[in-house]
C-alpha cells in the first residue's frame, strides 16, 4: 500500500567502531520497533544484542548509544528528547540518561534512529555526520576544553549547510569520572549513569550532527491535529499577573495540609512551568517536604524560610534574558541567565539552574548562597558533570566532616561545614578536574565512601551506586519504589504516586485504577496491590515515553491531553490500543532488567539507602515520622512486573509471554 514505508522511524542505526574507524549501517526490522519502540527500547535491544556479557563499562566492548525517539520530528509536540545509553560504569547495569536541547531531531535527520559506538579510539576523535555520511575527525586539539569551549571550537572548525547539533563531554568525562555526563547546546545534560565517563573512555570528545534528511510519518495530518489541540490548551494556561514566587511556600503547605488525594488537571501545571521552569518547586518543595535537606537527614527546621527564601524562583528569573526550550516544545521550561555580574566576569551566561541543581547545592548542603549556585551550575555544565550526583556526594562529605571523620588535613584545607559556599565551589572545581580532595569525590558517593571506610557507608545516599534525585520518597513512597527497583536506580522521573495521579492514565488504559477524589494518600505507604499496580503502570508508560522521545512534563500534564497513544498510531500506521502499548512498555522495562541480571546484578542490591524510607524517621518537619517498608514495596513492585517477588529477576514465564524477538534471554532468568 502506498505510504506503508512511512513509519515515523528511520528503520536503521549506525554502528561505529572507534578501534578501527569503521562504520556499519544496520537495518532494523519493523518488528523490533513494534516490540520495543525506538529511543530507550531500541537502545536496550541493541545493547542486549551486541554488548558482550561482562563487558568492562570503561573498556572497548561497551557500547555507547545516542538514541532519538519514535515520535521525534513527526510534527508531534513535546517529543524532542534523546537518550544516551550504555552499560553504566556507575552501577554496573543498564545506563541511560535523558536529555532535551537540539540533539534529538538531528539524530534522525542523519538518517538513523540511533548512533552507537563501540571500541576505543587511540586518540581523541569526534564523530561528524552530514548528508554525505559519517566521518571520524581528529579532536586532539579539543581534548581538555570544557563543553562550551568545545562547541565554540567545533563551530569554528566545521562549516556545514545546517547549524551543528553537538553532544560533547567536558573534563569530567575525559577523566572518566563515574558521574560525568554528556552536554548538548551549552549545558543541556544527559547527566546520569556515568554516560560521560563511557564517552571519555572511548576517547570520543563529541558527536556532531548536520544531516537534514526528512523524517516521515504515516498520517501527518492527524499528528498535527493532536498537536494543535494540545497547543491550544497550553496557550490558554497562564498564571495571573498577581502570582509571585512568594506564594509558593504557602502553596506547598496547602498541598500537604490534607491526606486526601485530589486528582488534578495537569494541564494547568504548564502555566507554572511556563513562568518559572522547574524552579517553581525550589521553595514550594521545602514546605511540602519534597526537597531534601542536609544529606537527607534534615528538614525545613534546618533550612528555614530565612534561608530558603533565597531560592525564590522570582530571584532566579531576574537573571533570565530569554526562555530556552527543546525542539518541539510548546511549554518552554528552560532559560538563559546572565551571570556576568554574579561571576565577576568569569562567565557571561548559564542555562537557568534547574530545581535539581538548586536543591542539590542548596538545601541538601544548607547553602543559602544563591549566587554560588549559578556559578556551580555553569561549572558543572562546562565540566560535564551530573549535578544531582555531585551534590549528593558533597553532602556525604559534609556529614562526614560534621562527624569529624574528615579533617582539613584530608580535605586539603577545605572546611566542609554545612553551607560553606566558597568551599563547595572549590570542591566542585576539584571534582571536575579530578584533583586534590575532589579526586576522592569525583566518582560519586559510593566510591567515595569505599575510599573513606566502611563506617561512612550509612551516610552514603545511593541506590546501586547512583544518587537520588531531589524528591523525597518519604513524601511519595512509590517514588521510593522506583529509586530502588528501576534498572537505572536513583532516578526521580520514573514514577511516583503523584505522577500517576496527574497522568490520568485510567482514561486510556482499561485496567489502570482510577484515583478517586478524597482517596487516602496514606494508603501508598503500605505495600498493597494498588501500590504494586500503580508502580508497574508508572514504569510501563515511562518506557513508552522514553521510546517516543517524549518529555516528562508532557506526561504529567495529563495523557488526556498529551495523546501519546494516538500520536504513535498516527506516526507508524499501527492501530494499537493503549493496553497493547502498555505491554510494549512492560517488555521494554523487562528487557532493561534482564540486561542487569545477565550482567550479574542482584536486583535487591539496588535498594536505596534506608534513610529515604524513613528508617529512622525524621523527627521534625512536614515528613516527621513518615516511613515505609522498602523491602515489601520492592517485592510488590516485582510481583506486578511479573518478576520473581523475592529476587526481582524476570521469570521464564514473563519472558516467554512478552516475547523478545531474536534476543537470547536464557541468561536473564533463573526459572
Amino acid at each position: 500500500m502506498r505510504g506503508d514505508f512511512l513509519k515515523g522511524y528511520c528503520g536503521k542505526i549506525l554502528m561505529v567502531d572507534l578501534s578501527d574507524s569503521t562504520f556499519e549501517e544496520i537495518e532494523i526490522p519493523d518488528m523490533i520497533y513494534e516490540h520495543f519502540l525506538s529511543g530507550v527500547g531500541l537502545g536496550a535491544y541493541i545493547l542486549y544484542k551486541y554488548l558482550p556479557q561482562g563487558a568492562d563499562p570503561l573498556g572497548p566492548d561497551n557500547i555507547l548509544g545516542f538514541v532519538s525517539g519514535l515520535l521525534t520530528g513527526t510534527g508531534s509536540f513535546m517529543t524532542g528528547r534523546w537518550l544516551a545509553v550504555c552499560k553504566s560504569p556507575l552501577t554496573g547495569g543498564f545506563g541511560d540518561a535523558n536529555c532535551g536541547g537540539t540533539f534529538s531531531p538531528a539524530i534522525k535527520q542523519s538518517g538513523y534512529d540511533g548512533i552507537f559506538l563501540k571500541g576505543q579510539s587511540p586518540t581523541p576523535k569526534m564523530l561528524f555526520i552530514d548528508n554525505n555520511g559519517p566521518q571520524l575527525l581528529d579532536a586532539a586539539d579539543l581534548w581538555g576544553l570544557d563543553t562550551v569551549e568545545t562547541e565554540a571550537a567545533i563551530n569554528q572548525k566545521i562549516t556545514a549547510n545546517k547549524k551543528l547539533a553537538i553532544a560533547t563531554i567536558g573534563p569530567a568525562g575525559e577523566h572518566q569520572s563515574l558521574i560525568a555526563g554528556i552536554s548538548n547546546d551549552g549545558g543541556r545534560m544527559a547527566a546520569r549513569s556515568g554516560v560521560g565517563a563511557v564517552m571519555g573512555s572511548k576517547k570520543l570528545k563529541a558527536v556532531v550532527l548536520a544531516g537534514s534528511k526528512m523524517i516521515r510519518s504515516r498520517d501527518p495530518q492527524t499528528i498535527k491535529t493532536i498537536s494543535r489541540d494540545y497547543a491550544k490548551k497550553v496557550k490558554a494556561s497562564n498564571l495571573p499577573p498577581l502570582a509571585t514566587g512568594a506564594m509558593l511556600p504557602m502553596m506547598g503547605k496547602s498541598m500537604v495540609a490534607t491526606d486526601k488525594a485530589i486528582p488534578i488537571d495537569g494541564m494547568l501545571s504548564t502555566a507554572i512551568i511556563k513562568k518559572w521552569g522547574t524552579g517553581f518547586t525550589n521553595t514550594m518543595g521545602m514546605t511540602m517536604g519534597d526537597t531534601p535537606v542536609k544529606n537527607w537527614k534534615g528538614s525545613v527546621a534546618d533550612f528555614p524560610y530565612r534561608k530558603y527564601r533565597h531560592m525564590n524562583p522570582d530571584q532566579i528569573q531576574k537573571h533570565e534574558t530569554q526562555k530556552y526550550h527543546c525542539y518541539s516544545c510548546v511549554i518552554g521550561c528552560g532559560g538563559v541567565c546572565d551571570i556576568n555580574g554574579i561571576s565577576k566576569g568569569r562567565f557571561s551566561h548559564t542555562h537557568k539552574p534547574e530545581y535539581e541543581t538548586v536543591a542539590a547545592f542548596g538545601s541538601l548542603l544548607l547553602n543559602k548562597d544563591r549566587d554560588s549556585i549559578f556559578i556551580i551550575n555553569e561549572l558543572l555544565n562546562r565540566g560535564g558533570m551530573d549535578s544531582i550526583s555531585a551534590g549528593n556526594t558533597i553532602a556525604f562529605a559534609m556529614e562526614c566532616y560534621e562527624k569529624d571523620w574528615l579533617s582539613p588535613e584530608v580535605t586539603g584545607g577545605l572546611e566542609l561545614t554545612w553551607g560553606n559556599a566558597e568551599a563547595i565551589v572549590t570542591l566542585v572545581e576539584q571534582m571536575i578536574a579530578g584533583v586534590d580532595f575532589g579526586a576522592i569525590l569525583q566518582h560519586g558517593v559510593k566510591k567515595a565512601s569505599e575510599i573513606l571506610g566502611i563506617e561512612s557507608a550509612p551516610l552514603a545516599i545511593h541506590a546501586g551506586g547512583q544518587e537520588p534525585g531531589m524528591h523525597d520518597p518519604r513524601l511519595d513512597p512509590i517514588l521510593g519504589i522506583h529509586y530502588s527497583c528501576d534498572p537505572t536506580p536513583g532516578r526521580h522521573t520514573i514514577g511516583a504516586g503523584s505522577y500517576y495521579t496527574y497522568m490520568r492514565i485510567w482514561e486510556d488504559v482499561t485496567w489502570a485504577p482510577k484515583v478517586k477524589l478524597g482517596e487516602d494518600k496514606n494508603n501508598e505507604y503500605e505495600a498493597t496491590n494498588q501500590v504494586g499496580l500503580k508502580s508497574m503502570i508508572n514504569v510501563c508508560i515511562k518506557q513508552i515515553l522514553d521510546g517516543s522521545g517524549g518529555c516528562f512534563f508532557a506526561l504529567v500534564s495529563g495523557l488526556n491531553h498529551f495523546k501519546i497513544f494516538d500520536y504513535l498510531n498516527a506516526a507508524t500506521g499501527w492501530q494499537k490500543t493503549p493496553n497493547e502499548y502498555m505491554t510494549i512498555g512492560l517488555r521494554m522495562q523487562t528487557l532493561r532488567q534482564a540486561f542487569n541480571v545477565r550482567e550479574g546484578i542482584n536486583p535487591r542490591d539496588f535498594k536505596m539507602n534506608e534513610r529515604l524510607s524513613g528508617n529512622p524517621p525524621l523527627k521534625e518537619g512536614p515528613l516527621k515520622g513518615k516511613h515505609f517498608n522498602i523491602d515489601e514495596m520492592m517485592s510488590i513492585h516485582y510481583q506486578f512486573m511479573g518478576w520473581d517477588k523475592k529476587t526481582g529477576i524476570p521469570t521464564k514465564t514473563a519472558l516467554s509471554d512478552l516475547g523478545f524477538c531474536d534476543l537470547e534471554m536464557e541468561g536473564a532468568t533463573h526459572g
Binding site: 502570582a243 506564594m247 524528591h471 511516583a496 482510577k514 478517586k516 478524597g518 516528562f552 512534563f553
Partner: protein, 77 residues
C-alpha cells in the same frame, strides 16, 4: 447539570463526588463553583481557573459537561 472540577488542594470537597463532578443548577455561573469550593480570598490571586482550557470571567455561565480546572503545581525536574 454536571461539571467536571479539578479543585485546588485547599478547596472544600464536600460538593464533589468521587470522580470530581459537581452538580449545579442549570445556568449556574463560575463564581458558584468558587463559593462551593470555599476558595480562600487570600489565595485567589494565585489560583488560576480555566473553563474548558480557556480563561473565563467569574460570571461565566456554565453548561453541562464543562471542565473547570484549577491550577496546581507538581514535582519533577
Amino acid at each position: 447539570m454536571k461539571v467536571q472540577i479539578y479543585p485546588p488542594p485547599f478547596a472544600s470537597l464536600t460538593n464533589l463526588d468521587e470522580d470530581g463532578m459537581m452538580v449545579l443548577p442549570p445556568g449556574a455561573r463560575l463564581f458558584t463553583v468558587y463559593r462551593r469550593l470555599k476558595i480562600p480570598l487570600v489565595l485567589q490571586p494565585l489560583v488560576i481557573c480555566n473553563v474548558n482550557y480557556q480563561r473565563m470571567k467569574l460570571n461565566t455561565q456554565l453548561k453541562d459537561g464543562d471542565v473547570i480546572s484549577f491550577m496546581l503545581p507538581l514535582a519533577g525536574g
